[in-house]
């Protein structure tokens, strides 16, 4: 399997605090890879360092054969790697229409067939052109997340980084968004890196997952291992028990 994204010994240090401690992954092209962990485990830091929103202090990042170090990324990188954030209320510009939000990445990357691309992007996320000139406050949480996905997909990236894309949504809306993401992945042969605290969501969406704690990867297991409970780390078992709900004991 050729790897689409390869991380070697990535280290992120904030002042004295080591947020990421020698993290390494290889994610194959077209694979869906999950990262679970609690708050402070470094899962979001990892995604931010990969996406270029934060710099990393040591290690290497290889995307489609290109190596990147630290902060500096070229335009090609941002066309290949796009990100969807957790909070759809915080990740769309409040004073821009949907049209403006989708236009910006197209202008930056010098696309010319703007009309068709915007209309196609809206259709693809199931919203239609009626939403094109609305502001984000006129949309529901689920609709906003669809716009955020459209904005990420409009550049035809190869890798999508998903940071808790459904944890701010109601359960029924979550199902719709997860289905939309799976459909997009199938249609475009995308590679997913998905962060979540919900083991159910991760095991639904991802073929392999890494469990993180205190900035380190505790273990990396295939989805089947969760079903059959074949994992070695005690922490993974704790997470699994917690995800099964409250038990009076």
């Amino acid at each position: 399997m050729t790897s689409a994204l390869s991380i070697r010994d990535m280290v992120v240090i904030y002042d004295e605090f080591t947020a990421l401690d020698h993290v390494s992954f290889d994610i194959g092209a077209g694979e869906s890879f999950g990262i679970v962990g609690e708050s402070g485990s470094g899962k979001s830091t990892l995604l931010r360092a990969v996406s270029g929103l934060a710099s990393f202090d040591q290690g290497t990042l290889t995307v489609n054969g290109h190596s990147y170090s630290g902060r500096k990324r070229d335009k090609e990188f941002y066309r290949t790697v796009q990100m969807v954030f957790q909070d759809p209320y915080g990740s769309l510009h409040p004073r821009q229409t949907v049209d403006r939000l989708l236009l910006e990445p197209l202008l930056i990357h010098g696309f010319t067939d703007i009309e068709t691309r915007i209309n196609r992007a809206l259709d693809e996320v199931g919203l239609g052109s009626g939403f094109r000139f609305r502001y984000s406050h006129q949309l529901s949480g689920g609709q906003r997340q669809r716009i955020a996905i459209a904005r990420a997909l409009i550049l035809e990236p190869k890798i999508l980084l998903l940071d808790e894309p459904t944890s701010a949504l109601d359960a029924s809306i979550q199902a719709e968004i997860l289905n939309l993401l799976e459909q997009a992945r199938r249609d475009r042969n995308l590679t997913f890196v998905m962060v979540s605290h919900d083991l159910g969501v991760i095991s639904h969406m991802c073929e392999r997952l890494a469990v993180m704690k205190n900035g380190k990867v505790v273990e990396t297991v295939p989805r089947k291992a969760l079903e059959n409970r074949e994992f070695s780390a005690d922490y993974t078992r704790q997470l699994l028990v917690a995800s099964e709900g409250f038990r009076r004991g």
Binding site: D170, E176, H197, H204, E227, L239, G245, F246
Partner: protein
């Protein structure tokens, strides 16, 4: 658990209406239930009116909203006709509420200890030293290992789980008869969630309180409560014993249960909720 004797709380045809520029918005539209000394769960998605139901019982509905009910009574005391001062006396003493996020619901400029002592001194004639002793005992009851230290910390100095325990301590220190918990663990990490629920469960059982547990998480609520009410668009669509969740009849409840991804079930795509307009009638 069945109801014995007089209910602790009676709600009949509760309505909460918010006037807006474009007309009235009815957040709660005729909710009725009776609560004994039991654990009742209220489940619904955002906008279903579950939190506004809890707030109306607590008396925390914003001033511009209209509340009406055929009956809203705590024991045999009518909450709607009660004077504001009586309501204040009840709130915190007999009826208490735990909110979602300790980061926003604790006072950031008061130490945790002072906030608990403040609750006690508001409701009881008690000396400062006795109040402090009660506060420390309560912090110990919510399984805080070092109550003396936490007593003198500010809310920003503790973790989310610790903050939520402090909030539970603050709410239970006066010995309320009814506790309303509005998404008490949604802001916490999964493993911490269970610890906090465990503490809450034990205290509610030991003190024989009535509990209303409001949450969006149907499975969590049904594993914690005796009885579950499911709300949709301001109304109760279904009420059932928590143990019989699998026998839910209403398509909304079944849809909610069905659309959750779980480990080991391979359903692609996930079933989605097909919202029928008649559910909201």
């Amino acid at each position: 658990m069945t109801m014995s004797g007089k209910p602790l709380l009676t709600v009949e045809d509760l309505r909460v209406t918010f006037p807006t520029r474009t007309g009235d918005v009815q957040a709660v539209r005729g909710v009725s239930f009776a609560l004994g000394r039991e654990r009742l769960g209220i489940v619904g998605e955002s906008g279903s009116g579950k939190s506004q139901t809890g707030r109306a019982i607590m008396g925390l509905t914003p001033g511009h909203a209209k509340i009406s009910a055929r009956k809203l009574a705590f024991g045999d005391r009518d909450l709607l006709r009660m004077r504001a001062s009586e309501r204040r006396h009840l709130r915190g003493k007999k009826v208490a509420m735990i909110l979602q996020d300790p980061k926003y619901s604790l006072n950031p400029v008061m130490t945790i200890g002072r906030q608990i002592v403040e609750t006690l001194k508001t409701h009881e004639r008690i000396s400062t030293s006795a109040a402090k002793a009660r506060a420390l005992a309560m912090l110990e009851a919510v399984q805080i290992n070092d109550p003396e230290r936490v007593f003198s910390l500010y809310p920003h100095e503790v973790s989310g789980g610790m903050g939520q325990r402090a909030m539970i301590a603050m709410m239970l220190v006066c010995g309320p008869e009814l506790l309303i918990a509005d998404e008490p663990t949604s802001a916490l990490d999964v493993t911490v969630q269970l610890e906090v629920l465990d503490i809450l469960d034990r205290l509610v059982a030991d003190r024989g309180m009535g509990l209303i547990f409001i949450s969006h998480d149907l499975r969590l609520v049904s594993s914690f409560c005796d009885r579950v009410i499911v709300m949709y668009a301001g109304r109760i669509v279904e009420e059932l014993p928590a143990a019989n969740l699998a026998d839910a009849q209403h398509p909304y409840t079944r849809g909610l249960l069905n659309c959750l991804p779980t480990i080991g079930s391979d359903r692609h795509p996930l079933p989605v909720l097909d919202r029928k307009p008649e559910w909201a009638l």
